[in-house]
Amino acid sequence: MRANGTITRRMHSAFSGLEGEFKALYDRRIFETRLEDLKRVGSTSARPSKLQKLYDLFEDCGISFEKNRETEYYEELIKKADIPFVQDLEERMIYAVYRKYEQYPAPEDYMKRMVDRLSEEEDHWEDDTLRLRILKQFIKYGNYLKDAGYGGKKAVQDYVKDKIAAAEGKDKAKIKVTDEDVLKLLDDGVFDCLLTATKDQKKHTLALLKIADDLGSAKFLTQCATKKQLYLFAMVYGMTYFTGSEAELQDPKTDIEINLFRDYYTNNLIRFLRFCSESDEQGDHERNKQGDYERDPSGQGINYKNFAEIVCLYYIVQDCSPQEKIRRSYEMIKRVQQSTAEKKFPEPMKDESETIYYKRYARIGDDEAFEDILHLPEADFEEFICTHYQTEKGTLSSVWQVKSEQKSAYKTYEMILNDLLDLDEGLRKRSFEILRRPEESSPEDRLSDELLDTFPVGLWFIDVKSDEEELFHTLCEKHTDVDRKKFKELMTLLKNMNDFLKERVIEDLKALCDPEEPSVRTTPEKISRTVLIAAYYYYYIVNFVDNHDGRETSFPELFKRFQKDIADRLESAYYMPLDSRNIFDVLIVFSAYAYLNL
């Protein structure tokens, strides 16, 4: 087997996420509490289980010990061992987060890795810029995306003609170029025109360049535009869709759901958290002000209710060339819309079915009532779409927005907020009283006092460690490898994450506490995986404080419990599960851990 990344005992444990880094992060108090427990039970039958808890701590921290010794032996061992005090632990935690963040790939790096993996070796484009490689892929395998309605072929060919004219002193009007010439002579300069192009040009005559540029920098566009781009990307790179058939294998390296709807989201989320409050080198912030990019990537996977997405999946599954996949899917989308306009088929029932209902058509399960539509003949599939899916675009600007609201996710979110308020009978009332205080006091003042007693306002790192400069110096004293720029970047990310938690969830809680008109501001269109996890974060802390003593929990234990408890909610919302490779997920759980333990 190929050795790349294979996890051997030395390299990683089976759980190679951040939780591994925090495995040994216990402070002295936890040891002392467990020792006290051991002393308390004496030699009763409870002793072995208390001993085991102590053994687990020693093992996690790499402290050598002997089993079944007298209590004094363990007391002495704890006294002598190098176990940190709380203050040291806080620094160690921030340092562990910093180390992990340092290694975290930028979204464009992630995209590059995927392009490297999916590219044909024979093309030899690996020395080109990422956006140029994607552009060439669209040209060679997708016929300039002409069938998907993208303009830009002329701009690309003109650029190459200009290049030839300049190099050979020929008259541009007389130069004819083949696709082969284009692929050979094209360079990154072709994108220069985007800098001065108008919005209209980017939408029409330069659309091909724009899509390559957007995908090359892995950005999420608003109004489901990214969805359209991702399907085209998947088709030209020969990506696959797993239908669930028992004879099929899901290839994780090419699977569209894993690579484009999970990891792509994760990486864009970090981008969002990094730049949502300050400008970066590429001017993302400025462009975002114009509303080009999604603020908070929703984390919605494949929208099984959207007919255009299902049509694309149908052709991704079929055995034909990328160009055919693009041409035939866009032709079918057009025909379906035409059939709708001409009322060729009876209107599908105005159903409010949730995504699960539609998903069963595209991911074969045990339910035989659902047809395996992705393996139907083309004409039958088209008729099925016309008769079962909402295909009417109405006032929406694109077919990709049809049925794009996330009702299931929204419902789950509301339930979490209500569960949170139900945890403490008085919380709803008290919260409202605190939150309705006069506007002159800052939101933190209004929220802090009483509400903080019940649950934290934001992220532990920011609540507790607000002095960035002091923290940086403390870390530098102990570690020589802390880079100021990178550290600052991490602190910005943490601050933005903190603001995000306060802005979205607390604001919604506030609205929900209003006895006159209880309703949340987040809508089914605005809900995101991030918001849902954030709401659950508050719920988890309050619930945990109410029911347990969190001090005895290690980070890996808490991560697994959090992961298990939130799994059903994420699943019912059609979001990907909590993942220890996702830095947002880990930081959220870690913050919960810190609040409960420090």
Partner: protein, 231 residues
Amino acid sequence: MIKQLCHIGARHSAEQTENQDALCFGENDRYTVISLADGVSTCKEAKAGAEIASRAVTELLLKKGDYFLEFDRDQIAEFIIAHIFYELKQKAQADLQEVEAYSSTIASVLFDKKTRRLLCFSLGDSLIAATDSGGYRVMIRPADSTNGCCVTTTEKASLLAQVNKTNVGTLDTILICSDGAWGQMYQNNRLKPEVSGMLTAHRLDELREYLIRQNGADDYSFISMNFDQSV
């Protein structure tokens, strides 16, 4: 009847290194066991590790088949992994090597001839599939190895091992394929039509020839068992 292929891949051939896949077959009055291990290329003793793992699990299942068919998923995974790791450690200590040098994947099938029950076990990216009256089905899917997959020396590997216990029912043949083999058999998530024909018609000699013709970069191996002819 057992059929098998264990072939060096083009890359190892060009590098003049050895084939690091290992197959093992064992039988007694009650049980038949087939196993396949795929050594990790960068590990110094990958071939030896693969041989030890495939032999250890085959012997264990033959000897304690009755227990394993009653155990739950966690027990099966924990016992098998612990047993392999113990064997690897013994070897590593004797040879003064690190145990990680012997890393491999491991996949195994235990068939109880009396009750016609079946136990499939896999750690890593091998495929276990079966054919039945003209059809084909996957019994255990390969683990995702995009970012590395678990092998016999991974900590807590048993948590990521896969187990499938079932009755033979209408199944007639079961096979274990290394990633180098199934990688050549599949395209766009599905079996290539020519390979599908060979499997459903039990033409495994043809599959052997086909894989050799493809001559993939990675070592390619499979081992199969026909239930009606396994006694």
